[in-house]
């Protein structure tokens, strides 16, 4: 039942739902319907749950309003008051139109965002599993840190709507349908209306002037489509069409564009793209660029069509950037064109190297004073053996004497004792083979253990990062956070690190894999202890 504090915005009597008479209530946050005579609501939907509303077409006998929810369900209300059904239905529709956009999609977005982040980043997912699923820290703390980082780095709030661009074919998309008896039906949606207003500000002006004083909306649009303004050839501009002024304004606009000339011969298509600041955030404004409208045209019907097309394209291009940039358009346009021509990519396209003057690169000669320094390698000055000339003479004579009668004696090269001692030295475990026994650690530890160790490091690193970022402790918030992080670290050590250590001990791996992790945790604990004692001293 409705709480008494809810504000009721609209009450519509004689509304049928599922062939039952009743009353429709529109409240601040939900829409509800209760059957006649009863004082409770059978149907109640929050505006946040409603995806869209639909109304029955005008010609139909039944005047209905349908609500479609996010879940796909739909509820239909039939307005059955003989005199004011249409008015009621329209009033309800208008109110809903205003209320629905406010409540749209607030709740789901955050959850979607979280899921997306977890799916995209396997490291984050693993961290989440390690820390939250095993209850070292709570899910809120985890997300507080993550989303907080994300939001802090972007100044714009999350719900900024992106500017919608204008489709070049929006008029053609209206696509009239034949109505059976020589008439045409145009289906206008709010988007199309907005596109027309943005592209042709003159039409918007006319709309503002005439609706709702002189014409209804429907009449205005009918006239719009009937007018020659809208049609291809605007020959009969002299009629008392309210749009004849628009035609004259367009002519003036086109002439002024011709006079302005083309600022940038290379249409800067890049400036038209969605330069988003981030997903879901606004579009950075771009500088306008003019189209190739630099042609003189003859006054013929073909020329008129071409003129219309050019004008249309120019207006579409210009409409995308008409947001208060008019004043800066002049200077900015020149800047972009000249900077564009300096752009190396474009200069490659327009310039040819061998047709230009030769530019010799200016070089500076290397002036080395002591180049013999390079000749010496990293051989430190060692104490040279000083051989006296007498030694030299003796050695040379000796060797000459020895080799003068050299005859190879290949059967007496090696004695068996020498050979066997050499072999023992070269066998595994021998003198020369000692350094080889130190195998790399990664060959001795199985890969699952290595993987677990990596996860432990990632989780510990995350917790330690939060811990250390609290220092220096300036605010009570940081104090709380520091103490919380310390308990988290202790819990992490108990729930994750110790079982891992026991596990590797059971597997007889004697290497100390967790020494470094423990050292890091100990440093954190000692820092906390120091901070705590200092705080106590300050208080006393």
């Amino acid at each position: 039942m409705a709480s008494l504090s809810e504000e009721v915005l609209l009450v519509v009597k004689k509304v049928r739902q599922r062939k039952q008479d009743g009353t429709l209530y529109l409240m601040a946050e939900r829409i509800a319907w209760g059957p006649e005579g009863k004082d409770r609501f059978t149907v109640s939907h929050l505006y946040a749950d409603i995806r869209c509303q639909k109304i029955s077409p005008d010609g139909k006998a039944k005047i209905q309003l349908q609500l479609i929810l996010h879940t796909g369900e739909s509820t239909t209300f039939h307005f059955s008051n003989e005199s004011s059904a249409l008015k009621d239905r329209d009033a309800a529709k208008e109110l809903l139109q205003q209320l629905l956009p406010k409540f749209k999609k607030k709740a789901n977005k955050e959850l979607e965002e979280k899921n997306r982040m977890l799916q995209e980043d396997p490291v984050l997912f693993q961290l989440y599993k390690d820390l939250v699923v095993s209850q070292v820290i709570s899910a809120d703390e985890f997300w507080a840190n993550r989303l907080g980082d994300m939001n802090n780095s972007d100044p714009t709030p999350y719900n900024n709507k992106q500017d919608v661009g204008i489709s070049g074919a929006f008029l053609a998309d209206i696509r009239p349908q034949t109505d059976g008896c020589n008439g045409l039906r145009y289906n206008l949606t709010a988007d199309i209306i907005e596109s027309i207003f943005r592209t042709y500000p003159a039409v918007k002006q006319k709309y503002g002037e005439n609706v709702p004083h002189n014409l209804t909306e429907k009449e205005f649009w009918t006239r719009f489509f009937q007018s020659h303004y809208f049609h291809r050839d605007r020959i009969n501009t002299g009629t008392q069409d309210i749009f004849s002024e628009c035609a004259k304004q367009d002519e003036k606009g086109l002439k002024s564009m011709v006079v302005q000339g083309v600022k940038n011969p290379l249409v800067d298509l890049l400036s038209l793209e969605d330069k988003t600041l981030d997903e879901g955030y606004g579009v950075s404004t771009t500088t306008p660029s003019t189209s190739n409208a630099n042609r003189t045209v003859k006054e013929s019907s073909n020329a008129a069509i071409i003129k219309r097309f050019n004008h249309h394209s120019a207006m579409v291009l210009a409409a995308g950037s008409r947001k208060g940039q008019a004043a800066q358009m002049g200077t900015r346009g020149i800047l972009t064109s000249s900077s564009l021509l300096l752009n190396p990519f474009f200069s490659l396209a327009i310039e040819y190297e061998d047709l230009q003057r030769e530019n010799r690169l200016k070089t500076v000669a290397l002036n080395l004073k002591k180049s013999d320094r390079y000749a010496h390698g990293p051989v430190p000055l060692q104490s040279q053996h000083y051989t006296t000339s007498q030694d030299i003479i003796n050695s040379v004579n000796h060797i000459r004497h020895e080799m003068v009668n050299y005859k190879p004696n290949l059967t007496q090269v090696l004695s068996s004792t020498a050979a066997s001692s050499a072999i023992t030295a070269l066998s595994p475990g021998g003198v020369l083979m000692m350094t080889g026994t130190q195998q790399a650690i990664n060959q001795m530890i199985p890969t699952e253990v290595q993987g677990e160790l990596k996860h432990l490091y990632a989780a510990a690193g995350e917790l330690l990062r939060h811990f250390w970022s609290c220092f220096p402790v300036n605010s009570p918030f940081l104090e709380e956070k520091v103490m919380k992080m310390k308990t988290n670290l202790e819990r992490f050590q108990m729930t994750k690190l110790c079982p891992f250590q026991e596990k590797i001990q059971r597997q007889y791996l004697s290497t100390n894999l967790t020494g470094h992790l423990e050292e890091m945790l100990q440093t954190a604990y000692s820092k906390f202890h120091v901070w705590q004692t200092r705080r106590m001293l300050r208080k006393t």
Binding site: K369, T387, S395, V396, P408, L410, A419, A422, I423, M433
Partner: protein, 300 residues
């Protein structure tokens, strides 16, 4: 065997520095130059005996020059075989006996021509390696089209490193790396940083032998298999190479230093002018915080 067998060329560069070997002969008479050459010959014979298509070359690296011991012009020139009495007697594979004889003859020639010169007491190792690379290049051009040839160089080093050969040495090493030629090193006496780098860069093996008399055993065990076979064997692991650069001013090995952006010379301390290319540099000093002046209280 099919004629598509891979040709394996082994070039052995032996350090025959007469001064070092002469002193060595007086220090430890167990390993003399003769014994060293015998061991090298054993290795060469084994290499050629492994596959018929294996080739061998031996270069003697002296302090005066580098000399090809095998193959040399005498062998290329004419016939061999029946002239030497020692070759025909024991039924040895003729190629091996010819090779041995040639090596022995050449080394005798080389050593008798040794002159005493005081200024050059270092082995011209960089030159020998360059000659080896040129020989490998020539041989690989002379084989038939489509025939693959794999080459490697083994350096048997006795004397110490020469710092003056550093640039040439590095050029040789990088050229070998580009040609996929392995450089192995068997060091008898003192560790050589240049050869360690050579082995590390080209992918070869570096070994310092603890017992010199067992040289032949080490050579056969470690350096006889070629690079493909080495992956199947358990061989001494590569040692850690010290790649630190030396500063240009003191020639100390440094890990962190200053490099001039113009001439790329390395210094251990900052100096405002680079001494090699005389470019002036500015370095930002930390900002000095001015002490705030306290406002004096106006006393009424």
């Amino acid at each position: 065997m099919a004629s598509e067998d891979e040709i394996n060329l082994l070039v052995i560069v032996v350090d025959v520095n007469p001064i070092w070997w002469g002193q060595q002969a007086q220090r430890e008479p167990e390993l003399t130059l003769s014994k060293c050459l015998d061991a090298v010959m054993v290795l060469g014979n084994s290499h050629m005996a492994m596959t018929r298509t294996n080739k061998l070359a031996v270069i003697a690296s002296h302090c005066q020059d580098s000399h090809f011991l095998y193959p040399n012009k005498n062998w290329r020139g004419g016939d061999n075989g029946g002239e030497d009495a020692s070759s025909s007697g024991d039924g040895k594979y003729e190629l091996l006996s010819v090779a041995n004889n040639l090596i022995a003859e050449e080394i005798r020639n080389v050593m008798t021509k040794t002159e005493v010169r005081g200024n050059s007491t270092e082995t011209l190792l960089a030159g020998s390696l360059a000659k080896a690379l040129c020989y490998i290049h020539r041989v690989s051009k002379e084989v038939e089209v489509g025939q693959e040839i794999k080459s490697r160089i083994l350096v048997v080093k006795a004397a110490e490193d020469c710092a003056r050969q550093y640039m040439n040495f590095m050029n040789v090493i990088f050229a070998a790396q580009k040609q996929n030629i392995l450089i192995d090193a068997c060091v008898l006496d003192s560790d050589s940083g240049l050869l360690q780098q050579a082995c590390d860069i080209t992918g070869g093996l570096y070994l310092k032998i603890p017992q010199k008399i067992a040289l032949a055993q080490y050579l056969l065990w470690v350096f006889l298999p070629d690079s493909e076979q080495r992956s199947q064997l358990v061989l001494p692991p590569p040692a850690h190479v010290d790649y630190r650069a030396a500063c240009f001013c003191h020639r100390n090995l440094i890990e962190i230093g200053y490099v001039c952006s113009v001439c790329l010379s390395i210094f251990c301390n900052f100096s405002p002018i680079c001494t090699t290319c005389e470019t002036a540099f500015k370095i930002q000093l930390p900002q000095m915080v001015k002490p705030k002046k306290k406002k004096l209280k106006q006393s009424t």
